[in-house]
């Protein structure tokens, strides 16, 4: 495994950094105050082809590996921006790419690659089905004419209001005798432009600026060809896509971690208290150094997971460990950075408190770190089950 960025990777990183320089702290602070969507930022990324990076070239995308694509999200967060506003446009299409029909791929992937269509809403979680996805109750019933009738409720459907398409997980059947317990869920591609009043969305205000809603789905009719892949296998498809998602989220956390460490060390070097820079005190310096080590270590796991993923090898444990370690490292760095800034860390103009709130999400979503530990404990280390 090579540890240096290739020239191409370096160019990708620099290209993203250049773009991000046009969206400074004040841009994000204003959005944060208004809980507004970073439309200009997302448009710039879209126009530059950055969000279509993982779509294969034959469909008009960038054709990047996951290792290279993850650098885009890392650098966005490293520059102080927030990839959470649009990261799902990069990877939600993976389910269509891997399990969709040729017709679905031809119809949607080129438009997703160009950004003409935004597929960045992913309706899985429900009020009573968070970590336990199999408990979900939203139903899709096949009608006589082959269409699907959908009813149910979703929560935390992020970027719903900024998407043309949503990938929806719904129950289409219950496992019978001898069938796997995960059987019976199916994935659908919902064209939100046609859903009209059958989907009602209520915004949820959160502690950071993250466009997310609660959905009430009443008699939504989906055409027969909205089903992605085979009926009943939806849960497997979602799991399939999760490794990519975990690795990309880990990359974002690494980017956040680097932002915090750089911000903290710069401030610790420049701020003088008792006639010397505060960074000379080990009480200030060591937490930053320790966070730096944690971020770098998490980055190695993320790179290993991405290398396995790109080689088509199993990478579940590595992808999960990368997300666990990186989200913990960025949170460690966030705390070191906040502590270093003393009272000023709480003032919005330093951007520390904003990034602090933003990075905290990744310990909880898209999967809770507890569930990663439970997965490692029972599926990798063969200990007794809790889920």
């Amino acid at each position: 495994m090579a540890f240096d960025l290739t020239e191409e990777q370096d160019a990708i990183r620099a290209g993203v950094a250049d773009l991000c320089k046009g969206f400074d702290g004040e841009y994000w602070r204003q959005l944060d105050r208004d809980q507004a969507y970073p439309e200009a930022f997302v448009s710039a990324l879209t126009e530059g082809g950055w969000l279509g990076a993982l779509v294969p070239e034959e469909y008009g995308g960038g054709g990047l590996t996951l290792a290279d694509g993850s650098l885009i999200l890392e650098e966005i967060n490293h520059q102080g921006c927030n990839a959470g506003a649009c990261h799902a446009q990069m990877y939600t299409m993976g389910t269509v790419l891997k399990h969709g029909s040729a017709a679905q791929k031809d119809r949607y992937l080129p438009a997703i690659a160009s950004g003409a269509l935004r597929l960045q809403a992913f309706g899985v979680t429900e009020p009573d089905a968070g970590s336990n996805t199999l408990a979900l109750r939203t139903r899709a019933d096949r009608q006589a004419d082959g269409t699907w009738l959908v009813n149910g409720q979703k929560i935390w459907t992020s970027r719903f209001a900024h998407s043309d398409l949503m990938l929806l997980l719904a129950r289409t059947g219950t496992p019978g005798e001898g069938q796997k317990r995960w059987w019976g869920l199916s994935t659908f591609l919902v064209d939100l432009r046609e859903a009209g009043a059958t989907i009602e969305a209520r915004p949820i205000r959160t502690m950071m600026n993250h466009a997310t809603v609660e959905l009430f789905i009443n008699d939504l009719v989906l055409p027969a060809d909205a089903l992605v892949g085979e009926e009943g296998l939806g849960f497997r498809y979602i799991l399939d896509g999760m490794n990519a998602e975990r690795i990309l989220i880990a990359a974002e956390c690494v980017g956040d971690g680097r932002w915090f460490v750089e911000k903290a060390s710069a401030y610790a070097t420049q701020r003088e208290v008792f006639g010397r820079p505060i960074g000379a005190n080990q009480g200030v310096q060591f937490p930053i150094a320790r966070a730096h080590a944690a971020v770098e270590a998490a980055d190695l796991m993320r790179r290993k997971a991405a290398a396995l993923f790109d080689a088509g090898q199993p990478c579940g444990p590595e992808a999960n460990m990368a997300k666990l370690l990186a989200s913990e490292a960025s949170w460690q760095a966030a705390n070191a950075c906040l502590d270093t800034h003393g009272g000023f860390g709480f003032a919005e103009e330093y951007d520390v408190e904003r990034k602090f709130r933003e990075t905290r999400l990744y310990m909880t979503a898209p999967v809770n770190n507890n569930l990663i530990l439970a997965y490692l404990g029972q599926n990798v280390l063969d200990m007794p089950r809790s889920y």
Binding site: A11, I12, A14, E47, G48, G49, G52, G62, I72
Partner: protein, 260 residues
């Protein structure tokens, strides 16, 4: 139409500039990048091309071999090919020497238009376009705020203190564009990935037929003898806005007879 854009590699303009006290030179060991002002010149060439004029855009750079990444950045911004003069003999070139090297490169190909950014963000001299134009014996306009091509005539709107000058000149010509001329686009992912595949020409002084004695330290006529900080500004008045700032500013201007 053949357009050349002369671009420079500069220390990251967002990083603090440092001077090596031993050599009195700018420290260039940190991260280097494309001079941001040059992006406006590339963007303008791309716009000419997009307007339907058949155009080939060449990126011309004089700088160390390590500047190859900056060349690729410029290509990603919109260049079609590059000419990079990389030779250790170029070290320590001043404006006189660098303009000589650039002119030699530009004379190898018959460019209709040579564009520059208004200044380099490191040395801030604003004069390279004029120096090169003088060597090439071509008309030159600086601070171009808009370019209009009319056959082989170029019309340039040029920003001056009292408004705009409109200047017409025959091609071939040399123009340095102001940073208000356009808003350069960000290079796209496909453009970045494609930059490497574009034709790159890397030349030594010998390849370019440049006499080593006319460039580098030997060909330069300036030396930095000393550096000092600019004198501080005179007494200034700071007005905090408590709702009466406009009145206070007006009173200040009247008092100082700026407005009557």
């Amino acid at each position: 139409m053949k357009i050349a854009i002369c671009v420079k590699e500069v220390p990251d303009p967002t990083a603090e500039k440092r001077i090596d006290p031993g050599t009195n030179r700018l420290v260039r060991t940190g991260e280097n990048t494309l001079n941001p002002y040059d992006r406006h010149a590339i963007e303008e060439a791309v716009r000419i091309k997009e307007s339907g004029v058949e155009t080939e855009i060449s990126i011309v750079l004089v700088g160390p071999a390590s500047a190859a990444r900056t060349v690729d950045k410029a290509l990603a911004q919109g260049g079609d090919r590059s000419v990079h003069l990389a030779d250790d003999g170029l070290a320590d070139s001043d404006i006189l020497a660098t303009s000589r090297a650039l002119a030699a490169l530009l004379e190898r190909d018959a460019y209709d238009l040579v564009l520059f950014g208004q200044q380099a963000s490191d040395a801030e001299c604003y004069v390279m376009a004029a120096a090169v134009a003088e060597r090439l014996d071509r008309p030159c306009v600086s601070q171009a705020a808009s370019l209009t091509l009319d056959g082989s005539t170029l019309r340039v709107k040029r920003q001056v203190e009292t408004g705009y000058d409109t200047v017409e000149m025959p091609l071939p010509a040399v123009v340095s564009v102001s940073d208000a001329i356009n808003e350069p686009r960000y290079p796209s992912l496909p453009a970045i990935m494609g930059a490497k595949r574009k034709p790159h020409e890397v030349l030594s002084l010998a390849d370019a037929g440049i006499d080593p004695d006319t460039v580098g330290g030997a060909g330069s006529r300036t030396t930095v003898r000393g550096l000092s900080k600019p004198a501080g500004r005179g007494a200034s008045v700071r007005i905090e806005d408590d709702g009466t700032a406009a009145e206070k500013i007006l009173a200040f201007l009247v008092e100082n007879k700026v407005v009557v």
